[in-house]
Protein backbone atom coordinates (compact mmCIF):
# COMPACT_ATOMS: atom_id res chain seq x y z
CA UNK A 1 0.00 0.00 0.00
CA UNK A 2 2.74 2.36 1.06
CA UNK A 3 4.74 1.44 -2.02
CA UNK A 4 1.75 2.24 -4.21
CA UNK A 5 1.40 5.65 -2.62
CA UNK A 6 5.06 6.33 -3.27
CA UNK A 7 4.79 5.34 -6.91
CA UNK A 8 1.73 7.54 -7.29
CA UNK A 9 3.47 10.48 -5.67
CA UNK A 10 6.48 10.04 -7.94
CA UNK A 11 4.25 9.83 -11.00
CA UNK A 12 2.41 12.99 -9.98
CA UNK A 13 5.70 14.79 -9.48
CA UNK A 14 6.78 13.80 -12.95
CA UNK A 15 3.54 14.82 -14.58
CA UNK A 16 2.98 18.03 -12.60
CA UNK A 17 4.06 21.01 -14.69
CA UNK A 18 6.99 23.01 -13.40
CA UNK A 19 7.00 26.78 -13.02
CA UNK A 20 5.70 28.39 -16.21
CA UNK A 21 6.24 26.47 -19.42
CA UNK A 22 9.56 25.06 -18.30
CA UNK A 23 10.20 21.41 -18.91
CA UNK A 24 13.21 19.21 -18.33
CA UNK A 25 15.73 19.47 -21.11
CA UNK A 26 14.89 23.06 -21.99
CA UNK A 27 18.31 24.46 -20.98
CA UNK A 28 20.12 21.82 -23.02
CA UNK A 29 17.86 22.35 -26.05
CA UNK A 30 18.26 26.12 -25.99
CA UNK A 31 22.01 25.87 -25.55
CA UNK A 32 22.28 23.27 -28.29
CA UNK A 33 20.36 25.38 -30.79
CA UNK A 34 22.63 28.38 -30.13
CA UNK A 35 25.79 26.28 -30.38
CA UNK A 36 24.53 24.83 -33.66
CA UNK A 37 23.89 28.36 -34.90
CA UNK A 38 27.48 29.29 -34.03
CA UNK A 39 28.89 26.25 -35.79
CA UNK A 40 26.77 27.04 -38.85
CA UNK A 41 28.22 30.55 -38.91
CA UNK A 42 31.74 29.22 -38.52
CA UNK A 43 31.25 26.64 -41.25
CA UNK A 44 29.60 29.09 -43.65
CA UNK A 45 31.86 29.17 -46.72
CA UNK A 46 30.64 32.68 -47.56
CA UNK A 47 31.88 34.04 -44.23
CA UNK A 48 35.15 32.10 -44.45
CA UNK A 49 36.35 34.27 -47.31
CA UNK A 50 39.18 36.71 -46.52
CA UNK A 51 37.97 40.16 -45.51
CA UNK A 52 34.80 38.69 -44.05
CA UNK A 53 36.24 37.99 -40.61
CA UNK A 54 34.58 41.10 -39.17
CA UNK A 55 31.12 40.00 -40.33
CA UNK A 56 31.80 36.54 -39.05
CA UNK A 57 32.75 37.80 -35.63
CA UNK A 58 29.75 40.12 -35.51
CA UNK A 59 27.48 37.19 -36.30
CA UNK A 60 29.05 35.12 -33.53
CA UNK A 61 28.71 37.98 -31.10
CA UNK A 62 25.03 38.22 -32.01
CA UNK A 63 24.53 34.60 -30.99
CA UNK A 64 26.57 35.17 -27.82
CA UNK A 65 24.29 38.07 -26.91
CA UNK A 66 21.28 35.79 -27.32
CA UNK A 67 22.52 33.05 -25.01
CA UNK A 68 24.82 34.81 -22.54
CA UNK A 69 23.68 36.96 -19.67
CA UNK A 70 26.67 39.30 -19.66
CA UNK A 71 25.03 41.48 -17.00
CA UNK A 72 24.83 38.60 -14.54
CA UNK A 73 28.36 37.42 -15.32
CA UNK A 74 29.70 40.95 -14.79
CA UNK A 75 27.75 41.33 -11.54
CA UNK A 76 28.94 38.04 -10.14
CA UNK A 77 32.53 38.71 -11.21
CA UNK A 78 32.55 42.08 -9.48
CA UNK A 79 30.88 40.37 -6.48
CA UNK A 80 30.81 42.55 -3.36
CA UNK A 81 32.11 45.58 -5.25
CA UNK A 82 28.97 45.58 -7.40
CA UNK A 83 26.71 46.94 -4.65
CA UNK A 84 28.76 50.14 -4.30
CA UNK A 85 28.43 51.04 -8.00
CA UNK A 86 25.90 53.50 -9.38
CA UNK A 87 23.59 52.46 -12.21
CA UNK A 88 25.70 54.35 -14.79
CA UNK A 89 28.87 52.67 -13.53
CA UNK A 90 27.20 49.27 -13.69
CA UNK A 91 26.08 49.78 -17.29
CA UNK A 92 29.55 50.92 -18.28
CA UNK A 93 31.14 47.97 -16.53
CA UNK A 94 28.85 45.41 -18.17
CA UNK A 95 29.78 46.86 -21.57
CA UNK A 96 33.51 46.78 -20.79
CA UNK A 97 33.22 43.25 -19.47
CA UNK A 98 31.38 42.05 -22.58
CA UNK A 99 34.16 43.61 -24.67
CA UNK A 100 36.77 41.85 -22.56
CA UNK A 101 35.07 38.49 -23.08
CA UNK A 102 34.76 39.12 -26.80
CA UNK A 103 38.41 40.04 -26.99
CA UNK A 104 39.55 36.98 -25.10
CA UNK A 105 37.18 34.35 -26.44
CA UNK A 106 35.21 35.32 -29.51
CA UNK A 107 38.36 36.41 -31.33
CA UNK A 108 39.82 32.95 -30.62
CA UNK A 109 36.87 31.32 -32.31
CA UNK A 110 38.55 31.92 -35.65
CA UNK A 111 40.72 28.95 -34.72
CA UNK A 112 37.71 26.64 -34.87
CA UNK A 113 38.41 23.66 -37.07
CA UNK A 114 35.64 21.11 -36.82
CA UNK A 115 35.76 20.24 -33.12
CA UNK A 116 32.67 18.41 -31.97
CA UNK A 117 30.46 19.08 -28.98
CA UNK A 118 28.73 16.33 -27.08
CA UNK A 119 26.02 16.97 -24.49
CA UNK A 120 26.46 14.61 -21.58
CA UNK A 121 23.98 15.74 -18.97
CA UNK A 122 21.89 18.34 -17.30
CA UNK A 123 20.91 19.07 -13.73
CA UNK A 124 18.13 21.53 -12.95
CA UNK A 125 17.01 22.97 -9.64
CA UNK A 126 14.63 25.83 -8.86
CA UNK A 127 17.43 28.41 -9.04
CA UNK A 128 19.10 27.32 -12.24
CA UNK A 129 20.60 24.58 -14.32
CA UNK A 130 23.95 23.17 -15.24
CA UNK A 131 24.48 21.70 -18.69
CA UNK A 132 27.48 19.43 -19.05
CA UNK A 133 29.18 19.13 -22.42
CA UNK A 134 32.39 17.72 -23.82
CA UNK A 135 34.42 19.43 -26.50
CA UNK A 136 36.03 16.73 -28.63
CA UNK A 137 39.14 17.94 -30.36
CA UNK A 138 40.50 16.52 -33.57
CA UNK A 139 43.01 14.54 -31.53
CA UNK A 140 40.00 12.90 -29.79
CA UNK A 141 40.80 14.58 -26.49
CA UNK A 142 37.70 15.36 -24.46
CA UNK A 143 37.58 18.68 -22.66
CA UNK A 144 34.72 19.02 -20.18
CA UNK A 145 32.86 22.32 -20.53
CA UNK A 146 29.93 22.99 -18.21
CA UNK A 147 27.47 25.84 -18.61
CA UNK A 148 25.65 27.33 -15.63
CA UNK A 149 22.33 28.75 -16.73
CA UNK A 150 19.36 30.49 -15.20
CA UNK A 151 15.87 31.31 -16.40
CA UNK A 152 15.09 34.87 -17.46
CA UNK A 153 11.56 35.20 -18.79
CA UNK A 154 11.16 32.10 -20.95
CA UNK A 155 14.81 31.92 -21.95
CA UNK A 156 17.64 30.02 -20.35
CA UNK A 157 20.74 32.19 -20.29
CA UNK A 158 24.32 31.18 -19.56
CA UNK A 159 26.04 33.15 -16.81
CA UNK A 160 29.09 31.00 -16.06
CA UNK A 161 31.26 28.60 -18.02
CA UNK A 162 33.44 25.97 -16.35
CA UNK A 163 36.28 24.57 -18.42
CA UNK A 164 37.95 21.54 -16.83
CA UNK A 165 36.01 22.50 -13.71
CA UNK A 166 37.55 25.98 -13.57
CA UNK A 167 34.95 28.72 -13.38
CA UNK A 168 35.15 31.82 -15.55
CA UNK A 169 33.47 33.96 -12.89
CA UNK A 170 35.80 32.70 -10.19
CA UNK A 171 38.81 33.60 -12.34
CA UNK A 172 37.65 37.16 -13.00
CA UNK A 173 36.32 37.62 -9.46
CA UNK A 174 39.77 36.95 -8.03
CA UNK A 175 41.47 39.28 -10.51
CA UNK A 176 38.97 42.13 -10.15
CA UNK A 177 39.04 41.88 -6.37
CA UNK A 178 42.83 42.05 -6.36
CA UNK A 179 42.93 45.15 -8.58
CA UNK A 180 40.16 46.94 -6.67
CA UNK A 181 41.59 46.23 -3.22
CA UNK A 182 45.16 47.12 -4.16
CA UNK A 183 44.24 50.24 -6.16
CA UNK A 184 40.64 51.25 -6.89
CA UNK A 185 37.60 50.54 -9.02
CA UNK A 186 38.48 53.51 -11.24
CA UNK A 187 41.87 51.93 -11.87
CA UNK A 188 40.20 48.70 -12.99
CA UNK A 189 37.93 50.56 -15.41
CA UNK A 190 40.92 52.51 -16.76
CA UNK A 191 42.82 49.27 -17.30
CA UNK A 192 39.91 47.62 -19.10
CA UNK A 193 39.38 50.69 -21.30
CA UNK A 194 43.02 50.95 -22.33
CA UNK A 195 43.10 47.22 -23.14
CA UNK A 196 40.06 47.66 -25.37
CA UNK A 197 41.68 50.70 -27.02
CA UNK A 198 44.82 48.66 -27.73
CA UNK A 199 42.75 45.87 -29.19
CA UNK A 200 40.91 48.21 -31.55
CA UNK A 201 44.21 49.73 -32.74
CA UNK A 202 45.63 46.25 -33.27
CA UNK A 203 42.55 45.25 -35.25
CA UNK A 204 42.91 48.32 -37.48
CA UNK A 205 46.55 47.55 -38.16
CA UNK A 206 45.88 43.95 -39.11
CA UNK A 207 42.95 44.86 -41.34
CA UNK A 208 45.05 47.48 -43.18
CA UNK A 209 47.73 44.94 -43.98
Amino acid sequence: MFAHALVLAAALLLVAPGPGKVWAGAPTDQLRSQINRTIQILDDPELKKPGKSKDRRAAVRQVANDIFDFGETAKRSLARHWAARSQAERDEFVQLFADLLERSYISKIELYGGEKIRFVGEATDPDGAIVKTRLITKAETEIPIDYRMHLRGDKWLVYDVLIEGVSLISNYRTQFNKIITTSSYQELVKKMKSKQEEFIQEEKRTSQR
Binding site: A79, R80, D160, S167, S170
Partner: protein, 146 residues
Protein backbone atom coordinates in the same frame (compact mmCIF):
# COMPACT_ATOMS: atom_id res chain seq x y z
CA UNK B 1 47.55 3.50 56.45
CA UNK B 2 50.58 4.96 54.78
CA UNK B 3 50.24 2.49 51.97
CA UNK B 4 46.64 3.40 51.18
CA UNK B 5 47.60 7.12 51.04
CA UNK B 6 50.25 6.33 48.43
CA UNK B 7 47.67 4.31 46.53
CA UNK B 8 45.25 7.22 46.52
CA UNK B 9 47.96 9.62 45.32
CA UNK B 10 48.92 7.25 42.50
CA UNK B 11 45.27 6.83 41.55
CA UNK B 12 44.80 10.59 41.45
CA UNK B 13 47.79 10.97 39.16
CA UNK B 14 46.52 8.26 36.84
CA UNK B 15 43.09 9.89 36.64
CA UNK B 16 44.71 13.29 36.06
CA UNK B 17 46.81 11.74 33.28
CA UNK B 18 43.76 10.24 31.62
CA UNK B 19 41.86 13.54 31.80
CA UNK B 20 44.85 15.39 30.29
CA UNK B 21 45.07 12.82 27.52
CA UNK B 22 41.37 13.12 26.74
CA UNK B 23 41.65 16.92 26.64
CA UNK B 24 44.65 16.70 24.36
CA UNK B 25 43.03 14.32 21.91
CA UNK B 26 39.89 16.46 21.75
CA UNK B 27 41.94 19.59 21.14
CA UNK B 28 44.26 18.06 18.55
CA UNK B 29 41.57 15.99 16.84
CA UNK B 30 39.30 19.05 16.67
CA UNK B 31 36.32 16.99 17.73
CA UNK B 32 33.22 19.06 18.20
CA UNK B 33 30.51 18.10 20.66
CA UNK B 34 26.79 18.70 20.26
CA UNK B 35 27.13 19.50 16.55
CA UNK B 36 29.63 22.25 17.23
CA UNK B 37 29.16 25.99 17.04
CA UNK B 38 28.15 27.87 13.91
CA UNK B 39 25.74 26.72 11.22
CA UNK B 40 25.75 23.97 8.61
CA UNK B 41 25.87 24.51 4.85
CA UNK B 42 25.99 21.77 2.21
CA UNK B 43 27.92 21.80 -1.06
CA UNK B 44 27.85 19.20 -3.86
CA UNK B 45 31.11 18.61 -5.69
CA UNK B 46 31.63 16.32 -8.70
CA UNK B 47 34.71 15.09 -6.85
CA UNK B 48 36.46 16.03 -3.61
CA UNK B 49 39.81 14.37 -4.34
CA UNK B 50 41.60 14.30 -0.99
CA UNK B 51 39.36 16.57 1.08
CA UNK B 52 38.64 15.14 4.54
CA UNK B 53 36.28 15.81 7.40
CA UNK B 54 38.03 18.45 9.51
CA UNK B 55 39.61 20.23 6.52
CA UNK B 56 39.59 24.02 6.73
CA UNK B 57 37.12 26.36 5.01
CA UNK B 58 38.70 29.72 4.25
CA UNK B 59 37.90 33.16 2.94
CA UNK B 60 40.98 35.18 1.97
CA UNK B 61 43.14 32.65 3.80
CA UNK B 62 41.27 33.10 7.07
CA UNK B 63 39.56 30.05 8.53
CA UNK B 64 35.80 30.56 8.75
CA UNK B 65 34.76 26.98 9.39
CA UNK B 66 35.52 23.33 8.86
CA UNK B 67 34.33 20.37 6.83
CA UNK B 68 31.97 18.44 9.08
CA UNK B 69 31.22 15.42 6.93
CA UNK B 70 31.52 14.07 3.41
CA UNK B 71 28.97 11.71 1.94
CA UNK B 72 27.77 10.45 -1.40
CA UNK B 73 24.54 11.80 -2.91
CA UNK B 74 23.53 10.85 -6.44
CA UNK B 75 27.13 9.87 -7.24
CA UNK B 76 28.36 13.29 -6.25
CA UNK B 77 30.24 14.21 -3.11
CA UNK B 78 28.00 16.05 -0.66
CA UNK B 79 30.13 18.03 1.74
CA UNK B 80 28.64 19.53 4.90
CA UNK B 81 30.48 22.57 6.21
CA UNK B 82 30.16 24.11 9.64
CA UNK B 83 30.63 27.83 9.27
CA UNK B 84 31.28 30.19 12.20
CA UNK B 85 28.04 31.93 13.13
CA UNK B 86 29.31 35.49 12.52
CA UNK B 87 30.11 34.79 8.86
CA UNK B 88 27.50 35.59 6.22
CA UNK B 89 27.74 33.76 2.90
CA UNK B 90 26.03 35.35 -0.08
CA UNK B 91 23.97 33.19 -2.37
CA UNK B 92 26.51 33.52 -5.22
CA UNK B 93 29.67 32.56 -3.31
CA UNK B 94 31.89 30.06 -5.12
CA UNK B 95 33.33 27.12 -3.19
CA UNK B 96 36.52 25.70 -4.69
CA UNK B 97 38.69 22.86 -3.45
CA UNK B 98 42.27 24.07 -3.41
CA UNK B 99 45.61 22.61 -2.38
CA UNK B 100 47.93 24.30 0.11
CA UNK B 101 51.17 24.72 -1.77
CA UNK B 102 51.96 22.27 -4.52
CA UNK B 103 51.37 18.99 -2.72
CA UNK B 104 49.85 20.17 0.54
CA UNK B 105 46.54 19.30 2.13
CA UNK B 106 43.23 20.15 0.50
CA UNK B 107 40.97 22.89 1.80
CA UNK B 108 37.85 24.72 0.65
CA UNK B 109 38.26 28.29 -0.50
CA UNK B 110 35.16 30.43 -0.57
CA UNK B 111 35.19 33.50 -2.77
CA UNK B 112 32.57 35.94 -1.47
CA UNK B 113 29.81 37.01 -3.81
CA UNK B 114 27.82 40.17 -4.29
CA UNK B 115 24.23 38.97 -4.00
CA UNK B 116 21.88 40.51 -1.44
CA UNK B 117 20.55 37.06 -0.63
CA UNK B 118 22.33 35.31 2.25
CA UNK B 119 22.56 31.52 2.55
CA UNK B 120 20.45 30.40 5.50
CA UNK B 121 21.56 27.70 7.98
CA UNK B 122 21.24 24.23 6.38
CA UNK B 123 21.21 25.97 3.00
CA UNK B 124 23.31 25.05 0.01
CA UNK B 125 26.16 26.63 -1.93
CA UNK B 126 25.32 26.22 -5.61
CA UNK B 127 28.46 27.43 -7.35
CA UNK B 128 31.37 25.05 -7.04
CA UNK B 129 34.73 24.35 -8.61
CA UNK B 130 36.06 20.82 -8.34
CA UNK B 131 39.75 20.31 -7.70
CA UNK B 132 41.82 20.22 -10.86
CA UNK B 133 43.14 16.72 -11.30
CA UNK B 134 46.66 17.29 -12.51
CA UNK B 135 47.33 13.64 -13.30
CA UNK B 136 44.25 13.49 -15.48
CA UNK B 137 45.13 16.76 -17.18
CA UNK B 138 48.68 15.61 -17.81
CA UNK B 139 47.66 12.25 -19.20
CA UNK B 140 45.10 13.96 -21.39
CA UNK B 141 47.64 16.25 -22.98
CA UNK B 142 50.42 13.66 -23.10
CA UNK B 143 48.44 10.72 -24.44
CA UNK B 144 45.74 12.71 -26.14
CA UNK B 145 47.83 13.55 -29.15
CA UNK B 146 47.89 10.47 -31.32
Amino acid sequence: MDRSRVNIAVGMFVILGIVALAYLSIQLGQVSFLGGRGYAVTVDFPSVGGLKAGSAVEIAGVEIGRVESIGLADYQARVTLRVHSGIKLQEDVIASIKTKGLIGEKYIRISPGGSEKIIQPNGRIREVEAPVDFEELLSKYIFGKV
